[in-house]
Symmetry: C2
Subunit: 203 residues, 2 copies
């Protein structure tokens, strides 16, 4: 029996650095794959169908929504983007681990549809640093600062819906933590009970 | 705020190699401490009170049972052995991780009394290997073999009460898995929410 791979969802507020962590993680771990999204937008120069995105038309996208073929989807500037369930499930059934880098709203959709995923929330180095970033982005009044900080803080509260939280202070440390989470998750008893180990017994 | 340490319970059937794993883990990680048990037996030559064991008399032991001062205890050949809750909690509150190497019955007692512990089940390399070990120990008849194998197999079924299972095929790999579990557990959202991180917000 082939052991199943993991769906690893890397998510968190914008500016936490989830992209940097995913990039470093994929570079270090050639056996981890990144989920390829579907989109209805036109391919840009150099983009390859099935590598950067699956480029599909709006009718096909609508049909896939209808058939519950997306783990999550959203519209950005009139174009649809979505994570196809079939690709993720095929890879996982082959025993491959899949990374999905996604915003909080998307991650919560995935969790509803694929609760056996591993949900990792990336946190900025500190709340102090988050404050600094908000100040740097230019909040002129105390009121405007409070509003922005409160919004970012509320977003961080979604952390409790996740399995893990990793503080992105030093990228290498954060990546090592994500790697440890992957190793540990494969040792979880509920996953171990589904592996080939217990098929050897021949009782 | 000082982040709390973890109570890491290493357990499993006899012969799985939990002692070997704990020894290697402690050698590699000088900051992890091993729980010091209380016992009513006499110290042997070279044994130091508070290092090898806390040597106490039966009256004191009974008093500690009465006061629910043990995470688990058992009698072996008329002597009492127990894991004192106070030592474990003191170290954990100081932020130190504590390893407890213990049989399945003891681990289940600890789980009742300290459910926030991390419970790791050590498995023999394979069910085949378990069979071989049982055969090597000398089961002359098929009936006797079946009985022994079935007993060992039943013991392994307790695995589902644990958080993690680690197969002890190569000791170094098993130790690395336990190390990853420790790192990952510290990233668990329920633990992260209790760390100093969110105290920086100053909202």
């Amino acid at each position: 029996m082939q052991n199943k791979g993991l769906l690893i969802v890397i998510s968190g507020p914008s500016g936490a650095g989830k992209g940097t962590i995913c990039k470093a993680l994929l570079e270090k771990n050639k056996d981890i794959k990144i989920s390829v999204s579907c989109t209805t937008r036109m391919p840009r120069d150099g983009e390859i169908d099935g590598v950067n995105y699956y480029f599909i038309n709006k009718e096909k996208f609508a049909e896939m929504i209808e058939k519950n073929d997306f783990l999550e989807y959203a519209t950005v500037y009139g174009n649809y983007y979505g994570t196809p369930r079939s690709y993720v499930e095929e890879e996982i059934n082959k025993g491959n681990d899949i990374i999905l880098e996604i915003d909080i709203q998307g991650a919560l959709m995935v969790k509803e549809r694929y609760p056996e995923g591993v949900f990792i929330f990336i946190l900025p180095p500190s709340m102090e640093e988050l404050k600094n970033r908000i100040i740097k982005r230019g909040s002129e009044t105390e009121e405007s600062f409070n509003k922005r900080f409160s919004a970012a803080y509320d977003e961080i509260k979604y952390m409790s819906k996740y399995d893990y939280a990793v503080v992105n202070d030093v990228v290498e440390d954060a990546v090592r933590k994500v790697e440890s989470i992957i190793v540990a998750e494969k040792c979880r008893c509920n996953r171990m009970l589904k592996t080939g180990y217990f098929e050897q017994e021949g009782k």
